[in-house]
Symmetry: C2
Subunit: 430 residues, 2 copies
């Protein structure tokens, strides 16, 4: 089947799925949980094939770790599905109701977006998470996972498709692509696909953002900053900067650049250097180099997401220079100020143009689980629709539904009738 | 100055404007209203220049009418600004507050999107409306109006810039482009411009949607449908269809296609034909042609936005065929079902994938003013961010603001500390 035909079918199914009620969707989620548990042995066998092949192909160790899908991981995703069942259905909520005139009532009601394309890398648990999030929010989904996980992904998609079919979810609501060229095909199908969520390497995400007409929700870069103000508590600042940089270097919310107020630099930088030991390579501006030994930084360093034990460091004249630096070089992801001064914190949080702005805590907190959202679609650095860690609500939009009794616009133009525009507090009744 | 430099300046100003409080923004709006009134003579003089030149260039009559900006129109826009001042500030509202742990509090707070590019045609009042909407929502704006209105637009932009400068709004928050080639330049500047709102001819909107990486909010086509079900009240259906088609043919929410249930076609179509007289040309499928005389319709007609006294007509087997037709050929704008059967209405409103779905009333009601939104940014057929008539809230997004006291993520990974994830009901305190 062509990718276009597959997308057309999935879109048709998505439109039907939009009308599924909460009970049906939750029943289907429970069925998935049950069948994943029942198919445990089969899934682990498929994953072992992937692991074996990937080892022969010398897949790097961190990716091998993410690829592994064992009994414990299966239990995790099943637990995740059980939590998802407990979450409120985001669809069919009346956001606004207005009487336009007697017998002419307007309702703004949440509905699914439609058909979502999701591209993710090694971790097979992402397939389960994303597809169940789409199901709960009534969206169809086309998935493409990392090729290293192809056998695992295939069996997971099969199990999910079978379980939802049994539960009565429209067939074809989920499709799995095999190759990257199929993804390229998919990115052209803006008549069927309403949103693309790329989770993966920056390079590929940026390619998608550049190439497709379909709106994209996600982030290419995570160039996160810590700014240590002159009024910072040095001991706290050292602890927060180290956590922001080193707690997990390979992730988008790890700090890549440290900005330091010139007045505190002579005291703070040596303390940081000592606490870091030789775990982190420091790449610094000339003024940093006057205080501690650093590799000289180039313009390029301020724009680089190292995803490694490296940190670029710049001494700044004050808060406004820090804000300007972040708005110029940052990626709108997560930035934190360390200061005792509440007014400076307020200014930083107001003027730093990022989805997540923090005061006196680690950049690593910007995450759907840590924010208490439970299920997470991803982290978005867009300026519209959804920003920061995105939960189920990122997969939801709304429709206006207007119920009349034969009203025509000309009566209101001719002032035969007049709008009342009364706020109601009424659920959509149909 | 290059367009890039102009956009860079406007973005800088927009970031400052994001911090403006409600009182300052409302003061600036009042100043604009005052200075527009004071500059009345000057504005009318500039507009007369535009009118004279456009007449010499044989601008079509409807466009001449839209171009005209006289004392009454000035009063209208000034009244609009006064209403806008009364609207609640959409910025700085706390949407969510969660205690992640003791002393670690998360707030989701509304903020402006940033810098908006707006492209509009003949009507100079659009310049005033759009720029004051952007001001109220704390966004910078780059405007491009129709070249036929260039003198009027220039003086309006000058007055607004002067008034907001006096009130203390950051300079450069508003910029006016002169030529279409400058717009093409602007569409490349996705590092500065966060959203493009095109209001104008379909062709140009589609060009923008295709060419720019910047997210677009608007609509290219308005292919709206009326579906007359077998259970419709014929008299009501005739009235609603005629209003949907003829009340104002040149607008996006006018009906372009009529779908008729086969069982009601023999009674309904002749009644419609008679009521329409020869005001509207009917272009119909073969089955329509069996009942009333029509111009034969081609596949192309179902995809065409006539914006004229023409209506394509198709007889369908039933509700589901009507829904399929709309989802296939429609533009996701506005579609209305005429029926007495509540279950069919519910099904239509659930499964028609459009921003506005109506029961027993004219498609012409889908409009920000008629919906009671007051100020309107435009009508969107997007599937994300904002859909249908878009008020101020379409220019707003949010940030996550996290206030800590030195917390680091490693303490939570190591289970030294645990998240509490308590819902608070607290405004952001800074």
């Amino acid at each position: 089947m062509s990718i276009e035909e597959l997308a057309r079918q999935a879109k048709e199914a998505a439109i039907k799925l939009a009308g599924a009620d909460t009970a049906l969707k939750n029943r289907a989620l429970a069925q998935i949980a049950e069948e994943l548990t029942a198919a445990k042995a089969e899934i682990i066998r498929a994953n072992q094939e992937d692991l074996k092949r990937s080892q022969e192909e010398d897949l790097p160790e961190p990716l091998m770790k993410r690829l592994k899908f064992d009994e414990a991981k299966i239990k995790d995703v099943v637990d995740g599905i059980k939590s998802l069942i407990q979450l409120e259905d985001p669809i069919g909520r009346t956001l606004l109701s207005t009487e336009l005139d007697e017998g002419l009532e307007l309702f703004k009601v949440t509905c699914p977006i439609g058909l979502i394309g999701v591209i993710f890398e090694s971790r097979p648990d992402a397939l389960v998470q994303i597809s169940t999030l789409c199901l709960k929010s009534g969206n169809g989904v086309i998935l493409k996972g990392g090729s290293e996980a192809r056998e695992t992904n295939r069996i997971l998609a099969e199990v999910i498709t079978r379980a939802t079919g049994k539960a009565g979810i429209p067939a074809h609501w989920l499709a799995l692509l095999d190759t990257r060229s199929e993804v390229i095909e998919m990115l052209k199908l803006d008549q069927y696909i309403d949103l693309v969520v790329p989770r993966g390497s920056n390079e590929f995400v940026r390619y998608i953002m550049d190439q497709s007409r379909i709106p994209v929700m996600g982030h290419a870069d995570g160039i996160c900053h810590c700014y240590v103000d002159e009024d910072a508590d040095i001991e706290m600042a050292v602890r927060v900067v180290i956590d922001s940089k080193t707690q997990y270097v390979a992730v988008c919310n790890a700090a890549e650049t440290l900005l330091v107020h010139q007045k505190i630099a002579p005291a703070f930088l040596p303390a940081l250097r000592e606490a870091l030991g030789d775990r982190v390579e420091l790449i610094g501006c000339a003024r940093t180099g006057e205080v501690i030994p650093v590799v000289p930084a180039s313009e390029e360093d301020w724009k680089t997401e190292y995803l490694d034990y490296r940190l670029s460091v710049r001494v700044v004249a004050g808060l406004d220079e820090a804000i300007d630096h972040i708005n110029r070089y940052g990626s709108g992801h997560t930035d934190s100020i360390l200061t005792r001064d509440q007014r400076k914190a307020a200014r930083f949080m107001e003027y730093v143009d990022s989805g997540n702005v923090f005061w006196n805590c680690s950049t690593r907190f910007s995450d759907g689980y840590r924010y208490g959202f439970g299920a997470e679609v991803g982290i978005s650095t867009s300026k519209i629709h959804a920003r920061g860690p995105v939960g189920l609500e990122g997969l939801v939009i709304y429709k206006y539904k207007l119920i009349g009794s034969g009203q025509v616009a000309s009566d209101y133009s001719n002032r035969v009738k007049n709008f009342t525009h009364k706020k109601m507090n009424k659920e959509f009744p149909l």
